[in-house]
C-alpha cells in the first residue's frame, strides 16, 4: 500500500500533467499562430466554446500540480536542512494554493460578467 504514496504517485502525476500541458500549449501556440482571433469579441467567442473553456480551466490545477512536484523535487535535491525545506515547501504550497484560488475566482467572475 505504501507504494501509492510519495514516490510513484508523484512521478505519475508529473508525467500525466506534463502530457496534458504539452498538448495544451501546442494547441494554444498553433491556434494563435494560424488562427489568431481578430478582435476581442472573437477571443471571447473562442474562449467560451465549451471544449476550449473546459480545456483552459483544467490547465490551472494541472499546471499547479506539475509545478508542485517539480518544486518539491528541487527542494528534496538541494535543501537538506529540514526546517528550511519544510518552510520553503509551506511557502510554495501557500503561493500555489493562493494562485489556484485566485485563478478560480478570476474565471468565475469573468464567466458571470460574460
Amino acid at each position: 500500500m505504501s507504494r501509492q504514496a510519495s514516490g510513484l504517485m508523484a512521478w505519475l502525476m508529473q508525467r500525466a500533467t506534463a502530457v496534458y500541458l504539452a498538448f495544451a500549449t501546442s494547441y494554444l501556440v498553433v491556434h494563435f499562430f494560424f488562427n489568431a482571433p481578430a478582435s476581442h469579441a472573437d477571443l471571447v467567442a473562442w474562449v467560451t466554446r465549451p471544449a476550449v473553456a473546459v480545456g483552459l480551466i483544467l490547465c490551472v490545477p494541472v499546471l499547479l500540480a506539475h509545478a508542485w512536484v517539480g518544486v518539491r523535487d528541487v527542494l528534496i535535491d538541494y535543501v537538506h536542512v529540514l526546517g528550511l525545506r519544510v518552510g520553503l515547501m509551506l511557502v510554495f504550497g501557500f503561493v500555489f494554493l493562493a494562485s489556484g484560488l485566485w485563478s478560480l475566482k478570476a474565471i468565475i467572475t469573468a464567466g458571470l460578467g460574460g
Partner: protein
C-alpha cells in the same frame, strides 16, 4: 607526455593540490599504465587497480572531467595534459583512493541475490533462453562506480538515493524469472528517495565503461511498479 594528478593526504595536507609528472608513452598505453609510471617516479602517490583488463572495477578515476576505468582508457583518447582526479563526490582517503562505503551500502540495500520462496530444487533452477536473455545488459556490471559518482542525484543524496549502479542490479533481480521477491523489492523502493530521485539525467549511461544503461533499467522498475501498483 604531461600528466597532472590530484594529491591529497588528509593526515598531512590542509588542502588538495594537482601535481605534474612527465611520463614516457608507448604504443597502446592506457591511463593505468601512465598512473603506474607516476607511481614509479613518486612512491608516495596512491591509486587503486588490480586486473588491468576492465574486469575488477577497482580503478575508476575522473580523467579530464569524465569518469573512466583507467585500465581500458587509451591515453590517445585523452587531451593532453591529462588531469586525473578522484571520483567526484566521494570522500578522499588519499590521492585517487576514495571511500566507496555508501556506494556498497546502496548495492547491499537492493538485495543483490536471488530470493526463492519455493523449496529449492535438487538441481539448478532452469530458465528458458528467452528468459535468460532478459539479464543481458544487466549482469555485466563490475561495480566500478563510474555511473553513481557521475550522477547529480547521487551527489546530493548519496545516503538515500540508491544510485544507478544499485538500481541496475535491483532491476537485474526483478527481471530474473527465478526470483520470487518482486513485491518486496518494489515495496522497498517506494518513497521519494531510493528510486525516484532519478531524474533521467543519463550521466550514468554516458560514462559506463561496460556500455550498460541504468536509466533504462530504472525506467523498467517504474513501469513494473505502475503495473503492480495500480
Amino acid at each position: 607526455m604531461k600528466i597532472s594528478v590530484y594529491r591529497f593526504n588528509p593526515d598531512t595536507d590542509t588542502k588538495p593540490r594537482m601535481q605534474d609528472y612527465e611520463v614516457k608513452t608507448f604504443q597502446g598505453m592506457m591511463l593505468r599504465d601512465a598512473l603506474l609510471e607516476v607511481k614509479k617516479q613518486d612512491e608516495s602517490f596512491s591509486f587503486r587497480h588490480s586486473c588491468g583488463e576492465g574486469v575488477c572495477g577497482s580503478d575508476a578515476v575522473n580523467a579530464n572531467g569524465r569518469n573512466v576505468l583507467s585500465c581500458v582508457t587509451p591515453i590517445t583518447e585523452l587531451k593532453s595534459p591529462i588531469l586525473v582526479r578522484p571520483l567526484p563526490g566521494r570522500p578522499v582517503i588519499r590521492d585517487l583512493v576514495v571511500d566507496m562505503t555508501q556506494f556498497y551500502e546502496q548495492y547491499r540495500a537492493v538485495k543483490p541475490y536471488l530470493v526463492r520462496k519455493d523449496p529449492l530444487p535438487e538441481q539448478e533452477i532452469l530458465q528458458s533462453p528467452a528468459d535468460r536473455d532478459k539479464l543481458d545488459g544487466l549482469y555485466e556490471c563490475i561495480l566500478c562506480g563510474c555511473c553513481s559518482t557521475a550522477c547529480p542525484s547521487f551527489w546530493w543524496n548519496p545516503d538515500k538515493f540508491h544510485g544507478p549502479a544499485a538500481l541496475l542490479q535491483s532491476w537485474r533481480f526483478l527481471a530474473d524469472t527465478r526470483d520470487q521477491a518482486t513485491e518486496e523489492r518494489l515495496d522497498a523502493l517506494e518513497g521519494p528517495y531510493k528510486l525516484f530521485r532519478c531524474h533521467s539525467i543519463m550521466n550514468c549511461v554516458e560514462v559506463c565503461p561496460k556500455g550498460l544503461n541504468p536509466t533504462r533499467a530504472i525506467g523498467h522498475i517504474k513501469e513494473l511498479m505502475l503495473d503492480k501498483g495500480l
